[in-house]
């Protein structure tokens, strides 16, 4: 899997994610988690995956803490005013397990790709050119625009900008300035794109998928079907 092309990685991520999302029973959850761990180890970059999983892990923890206390009938334990219920605990385990497994698999496969590789993969999957071009240009300018906006916000604060609800019109004006600047930049960008031959059909043809890509996709399809089958029989 670590050798698969960006296009194959996107297909594999979708197959595995939907396979895991279809799990309805707790019995298959350990298998799903083992599958996610195996994919993370096979792809490498486990530290990157763990770092990016902090947000989803916090959400899973929140669900695990809340659902057993607010739902279900069978009482497992009484902790002062709080009642721990079996069905809530089962639902929390299922949702949190699916969430973490899908996020781990997706990140393991797609997080190591550069933005350019990601867009190339989308283009290879026949995503409309308008959308892949949008993604490419958005990624190209995101850091710059984000830094500009942060700098403008900081400058507003340093000048003693008002706080609370009174700050909203200031934020609106700040955003309007960014949009006007973006409009001006887009006109220069369009001129540059035309000069480079954009829209003249000069894009290189798509390379076909390699044998190792097909092998990885087939393996992922088998694994996804296996998860669904296990969920039905266990």
């Amino acid at each position: 899997m670590a050798e698969a092309s960006p296009r194959a990685r996107l297909v594999i991520a979708l197959l595995l994610a939907f396979g895991i999302a279809s799990v309805q029973g707790l019995a298959v959850l350990p298998w799903v988690i083992a599958l996610a761990v195996a994919v993370v180890l096979a792809c490498g970059h486990s530290r990157l995956v763990l770092r990016r999983m902090r947000g989803p892990a916090a959400l899973a923890l929140g669900l695990a803490l809340v659902l057993p206390l607010i739902s279900g009938g069978a009482v497992l334990a009484q902790l002062g005013p709080l009642t721990l219920r079996l069905e809530g605990l089962q639902a929390a385990a299922l949702i949190a397990g699916r969430l973490l497994a899908i996020v781990a698999v997706t990140l393991a496969l797609l997080a190591p790709l550069t933005p350019l590789q990601l867009v190339a993969g989308l283009r290879g999957l026949r995503l409309p050119a308008l959308m892949s071009d949008l993604a490419l240009l958005t990624l190209r300018y995101l850091d710059e625009v984000r830094t500009d906006l942060r700098r403008a916000q900081l400058a507003r604060q340093l000048r003693g900008g008002r706080g609370g609800w009174h700050a909203l019109p200031d934020h609106a004006r700040l955003l309007a300035t960014s949009l006007i600047r973006a409009q001006a930049r887009s006109e220069r960008l369009w001129a540059a794109m035309r000069l480079r031959g954009y829209g003249a059909g000069l894009a290189p043809p798509l390379a076909p998928l390699q044998a190792r890509d097909w092998a990885a996709i087939t393996g992922a399809a088998i694994l996804a079907c296996g998860v669904i089958w296990l969920d039905r029989i266990l």
């Binding site: 999302a21 969430l99 240009l137 958005t138 300018y141 625009v145 609800w165 409009q183």
Partner: protein
Amino acid sequence: MHLPDGIVPVDMALAGYAASAGLVALALHRIKALPDPQAEIPRVAMLTTVFFAASLIAVPVPPASVHLMLAGLMGVMLGWFALPAIMVGLFLQAMLFGHGGITALGLNGLILGAPALLAFGLWRQIGGRWPDVAAFLAGSGAVLAALALFAAIVLAGLPAVIDAGAERMALLVLIAAHLPLALAEGVIVMTLLRVLRRVEPRLVPHG
């Protein structure tokens, strides 16, 4: 407000993909009918980048701070382009920042895309006559519509074992917590479009 992976059943997630694909196909069909759709791509991309970057920055809305949704503003300024732009933005958010998820992409596209289209329609209908009212309604209405869709999808998708009363209570708390955001987005969109109409009217096509 993003629906994460693993919350709703897989058939709902697939239905979300189908619905979003239908909406995007309709939008692309309308875009192709424009005189020179390719020339619009840099403008749409640059504006999408600003919306995307702005939604990552926290804006203080007492008693807390919020991240703007901006679906209504995208609808007003981008028209049919708002749908592909929202799908691209959601995909990048899921991949780069872990907001939302790959299986929930279709449903999240629906939650933000449909309100953006509603805002676009509203602005086209009454933006010329009552621009401030239309802008406020587009901004805050899009947040409320997205909240309603989010709540409906979560209610329909969570396992039956979860107590319906507790589920409804949690969603009511969520909606109440987002009401200041709806008001804030209304004020921001109204002020912003007022500035743009005066300074750069080309950015507000139907105003």
